[in-house]
Symmetry: C2
Subunit: 334 residues, 2 copies
């Protein structure tokens, strides 16, 4: 490929200084009309591309928000991204996205890419590896460089920045009570995400609701989707079970299939609820009752928090917004 | 927030020229040790962030690939992104992603963000609106600016650049023949994406295979997932049907559910195949036979094409890579 032409190349071609070229291209009155036209002609003929990042540094704003997503294959994050994109557009910002792919190193690199003047602020959900190794130096660096940052869903308590989360504990607590109130007695919690904070909070919400009603707690923690059938079979065969609360929607749909294969009628014999209100819940047969986390809203709220901070003149206390879950009742519960 | 400090600010603070500051920060031997240390101390104390974009312009490479995705909510694109990320990392590149959200205007803006020196090259799949309005001036601009570009999946024939697509026609042709060979006679094509090029190619592949075997063509084109049941019911009730080929995996899973609700046994009475090898196909009950498009491979191939072009010294002819689909046989076909 042909190399890009630089300001310096243009200066050599025009026989003037770099500063003159720069001023001419920016229509500075310091440069005479003739020189300005000449320089612009040369720039045009060599397809010179002004560097908008350097330009924007001058105005101290890029109107770009940097977003870091840990797991692009999870529908939840796709939906949050969709919400971020919609709200950013509405507020006159563009977004650029990096993927950490749950890696600490990639999260660090993405932060470095962003804080070097290319974005006004950062929205991110923390990588699993960072949650484990607890090395937060890149977040402290971001704060030191005065780049505003909003964490969503997976957040770090020790880092002082705006945060947006869902009420995972509350959501599971409410869903469990919902099942108990419609007359279920033996609610099983199916937790495929027991190793991340979100899954643990949901489990605690379930346990709390069950204990409050003096019901026996029964938790299954398969590590992969293909273990769900194996884990559920003994429950269906040997124990009384009339409800399943799953920590994600996908496990809930699989649980429905396994229940049906074992002669259970849904929702007559068993009621099932999942977390996340995705396509799969809406169109499963029967359609799935879910705890909706409003992923799109989380994205919108994150943008709104960030833009508030970017556009306010004074620094204010950081804000932790909790997006409320609610139960979307469909045909998998009686 | 505190505004970012610029080179000019540093120059004022140090009482030297901008050029001296820049040289000192880059350890130029032209600047004396004392001045260098002094300037670096000031820069440090004001949290000055060097602009890596401006720096990289000097070396004429950013090692960053810009990616534009039209529809983040489609699992196919999430998987392509995942492949892009993996391969870019392997080859020592970072990626930044913009979403066009099927909008022509957003695609144009994303291109503008990228071609202004912030990335080495671009990978994109064309927005639906651009496919309709056929305004390709932003793509011509990219070519004019010598920014290498790779189009994948949704490509524009008129634009001369490297391309990566799947053999949609072939894939549907093979899947239809597969159904005929296992003894199915009445294969229905369920096409929920009949309005985009990919859906049309798959339909043509199906039609071609059916006609070659002198079978009657039967195509359903629901416009939304909630129309699938309504469209399929009369077919199940009044016509002979022993196979369904769906243009996506999600419709295929819904079709399985509707078939079962109408007393069909899968795969004894009816065989079902979908396009796309996602989570939902793997874990449906019964598991779904699919035409795998190898979304991850498409992403990897796109990166590999782009990096080849970036790192080759001479310009070569553009290359159109076709990623072959294959049939992943599971339990929804006899």
């Amino acid at each position: 490929m042909q190399p890009k032409i630089t300001l310096k190349d243009l200066a050599n071609l025009a026989g003037v200084s770099i500063s003159t070229v720069s001023k001419a291209l920016n229509d500075s009155p310091e440069i005479g009309e003739k020189t300005r036209v000449k320089i612009k002609e040369i720039a045009e003929s060599y397809n010179y591309v002004p560097n908008n990042i350097a330009r924007s540094l001058k105005s101290k704003s890029t109107k770009i928000i940097g977003v870091i997503i840990p797991a692009i294959l999870l529908e939840f994050f796709s939906k949050v991204l969709y919400g971020i994109e919609m709200e950013a557009t509405r507020l006159g910002y563009k977004i650029v996205i990096c993927l950490s792919n749950e890696s600490h190193q990639k999260e660090v690199e993405s932060i470095d890419t962003f804080i070097n003047g290319s974005v006004d602020g950062i929205i991110l959900s923390v990588a699993e590896e960072t949650q484990k190794n607890k090395d937060y130096s890149h977040f402290y660096k971001t704060l030191k460089y005065n780049v505003p940052m909003v964490m969503f869903d997976r957040v770090i308590d020790e880092i002082t920045c705006d945060k947006v989360t869902v009420d995972d504990f509350e959501g599971a607590f409410k869903a469990t009570n919902f099942l108990l109130e419609i007359g279920c007695e033996n609610v099983v919690f199916l937790n495929i995400i027991s190793n991340i904070s979100v899954g643990q909070l949901r489990e605690q919400g379930y346990v709390s609701a069950m204990q409050k009603s003096d019901k026996e707690v029964k938790i299954l923690t398969p590590q992969h989707y293909n273990e769900i059938e194996k884990e559920l079979l003994p429950v269906f065969k040997n124990e009384k079970v009339d409800a399943i609360l799953a920590a994600d929607e996908y496990s809930a749909v699989l649980a429905m299939n396994v229940a049906r294969m074992n002669g259970y009628d849904i929702p007559k014999d068993i009621s099932i609820i999942g977390f996340t209100n995705g396509l799969i819940s809406e169109h499963a047969i029967p359609s799935l009752t879910v705890v909706s986390q409003h992923a799109e809203n989380i994205g919108k709220q994150a943008v709104s928090s960030l833009v508030n901070r970017l556009e306010s003149e004074t620094s204010t206390e950081t804000i932790h917004t909790v997006v409320k879950t609610n139960i979307v009742e469909r045909n998998s519960t009686r």
